[in-house]
């Protein structure tokens, strides 16, 4: 019989074999279980029945416009970081029918389709994505207009987080204060020790599961070991800025001269006065320079775990008697997004890129009281030409027109 639920903040340990029991317990509670799986050369979320289906000894190499999985001789279960998908599609589906209308004998009948929100448990969520979820919560649940579909799916979500042991070159959660360690917003959080996992309780239902599985409390040494893993990663990420400035001051090792491939840029973002910086540089030449590279293809916004824009369209059949109102993911990089009865407002790619970056990093603060960026790096990796928002901010900061004007 299950004992007293483990309290929030309690640490226990769970073996690999017991992870299967965790999956079983979630499934017996009616949860559909999804976890990271390999598909078409990437880590994606997919249904999982057996814990052996998790990719073991696999890491991801990510850089601007490139993503490759690599086998490594370790037994780590979660040493890749984030793939192209986030939790976004599970709560805010790429396509959703909001309303159905049928015309019978000249009269319209409207029905709102029932919300589909089967209980869902996600294993392997990273800290950046938990922060993204908290931002999406503000978008869809905050204010007077609550999205009923999102709300129902959110209530039926069980999250097993994983604390990252490594970061991709595109990760910059430390700059955005969103990681790497998961602090809140999960039901359970795993840290991979060897060979067992540390498991932290983050919610009452997480505590019930820990009790049901009769997991052993962690020793202080194991808790410390878990903390050290996160601390080491924080130190590595925090060292990136210093490392980058050393590289700049040592041009003798510059890649072009030696003929070797350039070192991968390890990302970080200086967010100092970023609101003033971006809004004070709306006419910066960099926007046009970036527009010459930018494809306005919308990939950055589609993979962004916080981008929430959607297009709503009425779709009719040939008779005109059956109409569905459909909502689908949209992007500020499309012409349709800013098209009104007077035409398209943001005609140029420069104006669209500027809209996206200034919203994401600056005006999001006014709208939602937080940055729209969680530093997951997906927009860098999945940009087909590798445009890197952290580089864009550096370029604008290096020639800060607003600052120059103030100094004159």
């Amino acid at each position: 019989m299950p004992g007293v639920p483990a309290h929030i903040g309690a640490f226990h340990t769970i073996g690999v074999d017991q992870l299967q029991l965790l999956l079983n317990a979630l499934q017996s509670r009616g949860y559909r279980t999804i976890a990271p799986r390999i598909m078409d050369g990437a880590i994606v979320y997919s249904e999982i029945a057996k814990i052996e289906q998790l990719p073991v000894g696999v890491i991801d190499r990510q850089d601007g416009g490139t993503y490759r999985l690599e086998k490594v001789p370790t037994s780590g279960y979660f040493d890749y970081v984030v793939g192209p998908q986030s939790l976004k599609g599970y709560l805010f589906p790429p396509r959703e029918t909001l309303l159905k209308s049928v015309r019978k004998n000249g009269d319209w009948q409207f029905t709102v389709p029932p919300v589909e929100a089967p209980p869902l448990a996600v294993l392997g969520v990273r800290s950046c994505d938990l922060h993204a979820l908290a931002i999406q919560d503000k978008v869809f649940l905050g204010g007077p207009y609550v999205d009923p579909g999102y709300q129902a799916r959110r209530q039926n979500l069980f999250l097993v987080a994983v604390n990252c042991r490594r970061a991709a070159a595109t990760c910059f959660c430390h700059s955005m204060n969103t990681g790497p360690a998961a602090r809140q917003g999960f039901d359970l959080a795993l840290t991979e020790l060897s060979p067992d996992f540390l498991i932290e309780v983050g919610s009452p239902s997480g505590g019930e599961l820990v009790a049901e599985l009769q997991l052993a409390p962690a020793t202080p040494r194991q808790v410390e070991e878990g903390r050290v893993i996160s601390d080491l990663l924080v130190a590595e990420l925090q060292g990136r800025a210093a490392k980058a400035s050393n590289e700049v001051s040592a041009p003798a090792e510059s890649p072009g001269a030696s003929g070797t491939t350039p070192p991968i840029r390890e990302r970080f973002l200086d967010t100092t006065n970023i609101h003033g910086l971006l809004l004070g540089n709306l006419e910066h030449p960099r926007w046009q320079e970036t527009a010459e590279r930018c494809l306005a293809c919308s990939n950055c916004t589609m993979v962004c775990p916080t981008c929430f824009c959607a297009a709503v369209e009425d779709v009719s059949d040939l008779s005109g008697d059956n109409v569905r109102r459909e909502r689908a993911w949209d992007s500020c990089f499309t012409a349709e997004h800013s098209t009104m009865n007077t035409g398209t407002v943001r005609k140029t790619t420069a104006s669209r890129y500027r809209q996206w970056l200034t919203h994401k990093l600056a005006t999001w603060h006014e709208q939602f009281g937080t940055s729209g960026c969680v530093g997951c790096g997906r927009c860098i990796t999945w940009c087909p030409v590798g445009i890197d928002l952290t580089e864009e901010v550096v370029a604008i900061r290096d020639h800060d027109g607003a600052k120059a004007r103030n100094e004159v």
């Binding site: 192209p84 599609g89 293809c297 999945w382």
Partner: protein
């Protein structure tokens, strides 16, 4: 259109695949036949009704002096003129002749070249007459065709996206073949509407729907070339069914010049 609108289907230089998409719309075909009066359609009717027509679907490109005249007459006969498919909207694969010497072709292919009267170029319908709506693709997508007819029957604008194939790929959660495999894919510069058939089957988009709005193929292929994709491959990728579309043509010419310089 208060009464049942009449529909005519015309063919120029093309393979017939796009007009056959109408007959391939099996589930919707009876509804289409009920909503419009199919007045002129050589592939579907034995008797043809003369114009004028409410809707004219034009397949194929203009490649002969005779066709250049014929399209003028068709324009006069049709209230809404819709060019359907890559041949009609961009000149089709046959626009490769725009880069070559057509007399050389004629002398190599025909025993009696003096009988052949052809233009030196293959050009889209819109280069010759005003086109009201374009339906992209090689072939066109049957759902877009049905949407077009639905919209015209009900007197509204058809819902055709002008954004990139990538938007549909990401909505379907298809893993990007360009980023995850390093394959040169034209999805980011190509207009959506095909249902991402190619990337969903783990291969590259070859741009059969033609350039998206604000298409930037130059940036894409320069990036691909920098990542080691052979430049002549990139030229061929752009010079496909939509070789004649201006954005693809300019980017392929630019890339070709860099091949000859390297």
């Amino acid at each position: 259109m208060a009464t049942k609108p009449s529909l005519a289907v015309f063919k120029f230089a093309s393979c017939d695949g796009c007009q056959l998409s109408l007959l391939d719309a099996e589930d919707e075909l009876l509804a289409v036949a009920g909503a419009v009066d199919i007045a002129y359609f050589l592939e579907a009717r034995t008797q043809q009704v003369g114009g004028p027509y409410d809707i004219g679907l034009v397949e194929g490109s203009i490649t002969t002096p005779h066709d250049a005249e014929r399209i003028q007459e068709i324009r006069k006969q049709c209230r809404f003129l819709v060019s359907i498919g890559a041949c009609a909207t961009a000149g089709g694969i046959q626009s490769l002749k725009n880069w070559a010497d057509v007399n050389d072709f004629i002398h190599r292919v025909y025993a009696h070249p003096e009988y052949i009267k052809t233009l030196s170029t293959s050009t889209p319908i819109a280069d010759h007459v005003k086109v009201d709506i374009e339906l992209r693709g090689c072939p066109i997508n049957k759902y877009q065709l049905v949407e077009l007819i639905t919209a015209l029957v009900h007197g509204r604008k058809p819902r055709f996206p002008s954004y990139a194939v990538c938007v549909e790929c990401k909505r379907r959660q298809v893993v990007c073949v360009a980023v995850a495999q390093g394959i040169a894919c034209l999805g980011p510069v190509t207009q959506a509407g095909c249902g991402v058939i190619c990337p969903a089957f783990n291969r590259d988009c070859y741009g059969c729907f033609g350039p998206k709005e604000n298409s930037n193929p130059n940036s894409l292929v320069q990036h691909d070339a920098a990542n080691g994709i052979p430049r002549d491959h990139l030229v061929r990728l752009l010079r496909n069914f939509n070789a004649g579309a201006s954005e693809f043509r300019l980017a392929s010419d630019h890339m070709e010049r860099s091949v000859s310089q390297s």
